[in-house]
């Protein structure tokens, strides 16, 4: 029997091609997704091992609520990052830790990401695709995994060491001079060293700064001084090499003991921190795998019914053969096995091809990333587990697909098998009822989700207490997902019942345009409702995902455009592309530009808190000109008079902040600010110390020179004298700023809340006017983030724009945009997401085409005689092709339409849920969705070609006389 099966398989090989491709595609996605995730994880682990390589870390003990970052990532409900942050610890602990026995080196490594911009040799800013530009304070011993390859580490603001990848990307080498754009503006720097790490840094541009410079940059950015999140500790137990786990633990224990009481600090092993980091990063990257898997599942789903269809065809055609086998005494099980053997073979070949394909896909992605400037060193080879999973999935899907046809082959009584049998379809009504129930339940989930989102933090979403309690526990995201799952599955379950009505409705147009072929095609669809529905389902899921994303993306664009259209009154905006801070020189350059009438400056106040003691809350605080609301941005007022409040020195609070803190107009709030001032006393002391040091050194050298001169070594004496003179010169040239000592003063101001506004841009901010801001912070803790520029009346905005662009060119990173560009700058980001979206769409189309081709092929094979009859009564070849094309198009349109409806609904619900995050407007991209439908028709036409060719290849005579 097995031999018969194998021989059959060889005979049916051409038939199996499509099944093999489908299985291979599905398996490749499964294997590829696992492989990709492992590669990313591997890369993350490698990078952590290299970049977070200390043996022990000292960090705070109290877990910190995500207040600081909450302002920038509200509504994400902590899902964006699972990494906990702890209270900052005092930098002075370094001294305590360094004294512990077994500690080779303890210190704070200051690093900043996205703050600096390196100018490449060709004069353009180095851009790295997706990966950040990082500045790290490095000197000997601060980063064990980094090896200095050439030159030395940087010692001051005008020196940098570059990571080898950065050096290569920027085309710079030791000794080259270039510009580095600090937050305060570009400065000339000299490359003094090149270092490398064993692990690729995934495209990050790493700049080694002098530690003191890095500290300044970091402090300036965070507004935190004298504190740090981590102190890194390298142990000496292993002779400078990384410690093993036990050694790390032991050292951590010792360090912990040495930490003074009340320092609110503890020591943890490096491995533990790396684990935490790695888990958090992997969580963030985790969304990629399910996304790939979804399409893998679609491919496998289509694959399984392509297989079912193929085997149905084969079984149908071989029925007489099976009947013969049965009549000569083969048992049903034996007949079953001849079919299943073919399925097994097919599954093996398909899975094998899929594993290879999946591996190739990941390789291709790695190659693509490397070409795009993000080299990966993580392993990208599927492990035995991946292969086994792929093989198991492929085989399972094949067997599931082949089981029913094989059963039919085995159980058909010999006599019945001799005749052509038409299996009447089971009624689809039960499925319709079940599907509708699921869809209704899903819709209820969504309605609940919308109610929860609408209600926000105040008020109850529903009149039912248990549901409200649930809402507090699970939030809006959970019902959103459950609703989506229910609706998608529900529609798939329901779809066979939809086929007949949909055929009538969708078929109306073709039935009128092509009276005969259109009508025939429409009715053919309803003959095998399940098969038609399954074929459409493949497209449905893909299109639903894509159109949901399209709606969200389009709404995001429209919301930004809406802000600009309704709120923004200024002609231009200026922002920094890197750090967010606009250097003061750039501000004055813009002010001085000809044609500029007024410049409104948004300055962020660092480290401002509200309230007192433990309840102190953080919020992004901006200093604005009093004219902000009249000249730059129209307020959307929730309570109070925003314009008057700003002018009269009261707080204007964003709705989210007000809700979080329970503030109302008229409340008085304590504002705690920070001012960094020069500590005259300490500075004087530092300068005196330095002078004394230099004097001592010159005195010493001079003394040596005199001694040498006395001893008769004139050359030596001369050298020493020169050295002494150089030391004195160096001292005179030393940057006085390095000797300035600063101190932080805390300020407390009581201010009345004057207005609450709900513009989405201001929702999570507190605004105050410049005068008030000056009382809270000073210029050292306030940085210009954004400029709003109005052109002079009657000035040509295009010319003014050109002048502005020219004015900020020396600052490299300042981006001046007019209103349209401001709109589209947000859109570009969205557009990049859309590219991924279209790749996914293409994928689901390819899979769907396979499904349609296969379904039609089966249908054509079943209808050989009918098509022969049609031909005999005068149907032309074109009409037969047309009929099949209409059938295929209707299937495709049905799937697409269902997908678009569900996707748009999902997108609309998602928009409501994330309304407070800026998705203020619902925009349905009808043109895109329309294009999907047109595409569906085309897909149908293309998919109908191979089955039509097959149908027409059969001579009319053979077709009609086939018995």
């Amino acid at each position: 029997m097995i031999r018969i099966g194998l021989r059959d398989a060889r005979a049916h090989l051409p038939r199996f091609v499509m099944s093999i491709i489908a299985i291979a595609l599905g398996v490749s996605f499964v294997v590829g997704s696992f492989c990709f995730r492992e590669m990313m994880n591997d890369q993350v682990d490698q990078m952590l091992g290299s970049n977070t390589d200390a043996d022990v870390y000292v960090r705070g003990v109290a877990e910190r609520k995500d207040d600081a970052s909450a302002a920038t990532a509200t509504g994400s409900d902590g899902s964006s990052s699972s990494l906990k942050t702890y209270n900052d610890i005092d930098v002075s602990l370094v001294d305590d830790v360094a004294k512990v026995a077994g500690v080779a080196r303890a210190g704070v490594t200051y690093s900043t990401s996205g703050t600096l911009v390196l100018v490449a040799k060709d004069g353009n800013a180095v851009s790295s695709m997706g990966s950040p530009t990082m500045g790290i304070g490095l000197e000997k011993g601060t980063w064990r995994s980094a090896r200095l390859e050439h030159g030395r580490w940087a010692r001051n603001r005008h020196e940098i060491a570059l990571h080898a990848f950065a050096a290569k990307t920027a085309g710079l080498g030791v000794g080259d001079t270039t510009k580095l754009v600090y937050p305060s503006g570009p400065e000339d720097v000299k490359v003094v060293g090149v270092f490398d790490t064993d692990v690729s840094q995934a495209g990050a541009i790493i700049i080694g700064l002098a530690p003191s410079v890095a500290r300044e940059v970091v402090q300036e950015k965070t507004g935190e001084i004298g504190v740090t999140q981590y102190i890194t500790v390298y142990g000496s137990a292993d002779g400078g090499g990384p410690l093993n786990d036990a050694q790390q633990r032991e050292l951590a224990a010792r360090v912990r003991k040495a930490l003074p009481k009340g320092s609110k600090a503890t020591a943890i092993t490096g491995d533990r921190l790396r684990d935490e980091y790695s888990r958090s990063i992997k969580d963030q990257l985790g969304f990629i795998q399910p996304l790939i898997l979804i399409f893998g599942v679609i491919a496998l789903f289509v694959g399984s019914f392509i297989i079912a269809n193929t085997f149905s065809m084969i079984v149908r055609e071989s029925m007489r053969g099976y009947a013969l086998l049965r009549s000569v005494g083969a048992s049903p099980a034996q007949v079953f096995s001849t079919v299943v053997v073919q399925a097994l073979l097919l599954g093996l070949v398909g899975s094998g091809a899929g594993i290879a394909l999946g591996w190739g896909m990941v390789r291709l992605i790695v190659f693509g990333l490397a070409q795009a400037g993000t080299p990966m060193t993580g392993a990208a080879t599927p492990g035995p587990t991946d292969m086994l999973v792929g093989l198991a999935v492929g085989l399972a899907v094949t067997l599931v697909g082949a089981a029913l046809p094989a059963r039919r082959a085995a159980t058909a009584p010999p006599i019945q098998a001799m005749n052509e049998t038409v299996n009447p379809e089971k009624p689809v009504l039960p499925r319709g009822v079940a599907g509708v129930a699921m869809v209704v339940l899903g819709a209820a989930c969504w309605a609940y989700c919308v109610a929860v989102a609408r209600a926000g933090d105040t008020g109850d979403p529903t009149p039912f207490a248990p549901l409200n309690a649930l809402a507090e526990r699970v939030g809006a995201g959970w019902p959103l997902g459950a609703g989506a799952a229910l609706i998608v599955v529900g529609v798939i379950v329901l779809s066979p019942a939809l086929v007949a009505p949909a055929g009538t409705v969708l078929g109306w147009l073709p039935a009128h345009v092509f009276p005969v072929t259109g009508r025939l095609a429409t009715r053919n669809l309803a003959r095998q409702k399940r098969r038609t529905a399954n074929t459409a389902a493949a497209l449905f899921v893909g299109v639903a995902i894509v159109s949901c994303l399209a709606v969200v993306a389009s709404s995001a664009k429209a919301s930004v455009a809406g802000i600009v259209d309704t709120g923004l009154k200024s002609d231009f905006t200026a922002m920094s592309a890197s750090s967010g801070r606009i250097p003061d020189d750039a501000v004055s350059a813009i002010r001085k530009t000809k044609g500029v009438a007024s410049v409104s400056q948004s300055r962020m106040l660092m480290g401002v808190t509200y309230g007192s003691g433990k309840d102190a809350a953080q919020a992004m605080t901006f200093a604005e000109q009093p004219s902000l609301f009249s000249k730059v941005f129209a307020p959307v007022t929730n309570a109070g008079d925003a314009d008057r409040a700003l002018k009269s020195g009261e707080l204007v609070v964003g709705l989210t902040v007000a809700q979080d803190n329970g503030w109302k107009v008229g409340d008085t709030v304590r504002v705690n600010g920070r001012r960094v001032v020069v500590d005259e006393e300490a500075t004087a002391k530092a300068q005196a110390d330095y002078r004394a040091q230099v004097e001592a050194k010159t005195a010493d050298l001079t003394a040596q020179a005199q001694r040498l001169a006395a001893a008769g070594d004139a050359d030596g004496a001369q050298a020493k004298a020169d050295e002494a003179r150089r030391a004195a010169e160096d001292a005179a040239n030393v940057d006085p700023s390095t000797l300035v000592r600063t101190t932080t003063e805390t300020t407390h101001v009581k201010v009345r809340v004057g207005a609450i506004i709900e513009n989405s841009v201001y929702r999570s901010m507190v605004l105050m006017n410049d005068d008030l801001a000056e009382r809270v912070n000073n210029e050292n803790t306030m940085f210009t983030i954004m400029l709003f520029v109005n052109a002079r009346d009657g000035a040509d905005t295009a010319t003014v724009k050109k002048r502005l662009v020219k004015a900020v060119k020396p600052f490299y990173v300042i981006n001046v945009q007019d209103r349209d560009e401001f709109k589209s700058s947000m859109s570009t980001m969205v557009d990049q997401i859309l590219i991924i979206l279209y790749a996914l769409l293409a994928l689901s189309i390819v899979i769907a085409v396979f499904g349609i081709v296969n379904t039609l092929a089966l249908s054509v094979s079943e209808r050989t005689r009918e098509i022969g009859l049609l031909r005999a009564v005068g149907t032309s070849r074109g009409q037969v092709r047309g009929m099949l094309a209409i059938e295929a198009s209707l299937i495709a349109v049905l799937g697409t339409l269902l997908g678009v409806v569900v996707g748009v609904a999902a997108g609309a619900v998602i928009r409501v849920v994330y309304e407070s995050d800026g998705l203020e407007r619902l925009s349905v991209p009808w043109d895109q969705l329309g294009a999907f439908l047109v595409l569906a028709v085309l897909v149908g036409v293309v998919a109908a070609l191979p089955p039509a060719r097959r149908a027409l290849k059969v001579p009319v005579l053979d077709a009609v006389s086939a018995e």
Partner: protein, 284 residues
Amino acid sequence: MARHSAASVAALKDRVDDGPGTAPDAVARAIDLTKAYGDADARVVALDHVNVSFTRGEMTAIMGPSGSGKSTLMHCMAGLDTPTSGRVVVEGLEVSSMNQRQLTKLRRTRIGFIFQSFNLVPTLSAEENILLPLQIAKRPIDRVWFDKVVDVTGLRPRLTHRPSQLSGGQQQRVACARAIMARPSVIFADEPTGNLDSRSSREVLGFLKDSVHEYGQTIVMVTHDPRAASYADRVLVLADGRITRDLRHPSYEEILDVFATEGDEDRENGPAQAADAHGAGAGA
């Protein structure tokens, strides 16, 4: 008998060779038609230099045992099969050299078909099936003619039914109605009553005969059944790819008689053909 048939074939041949102009009543003609299957080693000749002409307004039955070439003759005449040599002319058009497009046009305008089974498109109602050829060809529908055809076939109450809701006889009557609806030059019927009980057979054959006599329809019918053949104006008997008899208005008994003697000859020629002929006789 053999001499007689040879003579009549010769006469036929003469008439055909006179050209289209001299035979105004011939709808379809086969001229020196040969059809062979297989290659040189295993050559099976289904039609052996057949010359025949079908007269307008006549119902011709083609009879003969299995393998005699009767179906092949009809398929070649209808353009469903291409002859190895010789010509087929329908209404002055040479079918044997037509391409697919021309064949489609021929089927739309000149030829109607009735098959033994599977005559109807399952997804279409009876009415839609009847109108199918006209709609495919985008020809106008003559409602008066349609009503007449429907009434004659007695299908009025069944028009909205799907084929699966009709009996075998009703299905064949729908097929007949469909074939006649387009008023083709000639209807080729392949065992139209092969799957029917005797009452349904009578209905269908009666309807076909009426359409010939009342509306001047031309019908060529392949059949095993002497009773079906007895409805025809003319009966051609084929054996081994040649026309052996050409009977004018034969009675049922005459036809049976022919087969009885044919059977004797077959028994002398070989047992296989005899069994076939016997089977055909038993079927009737």
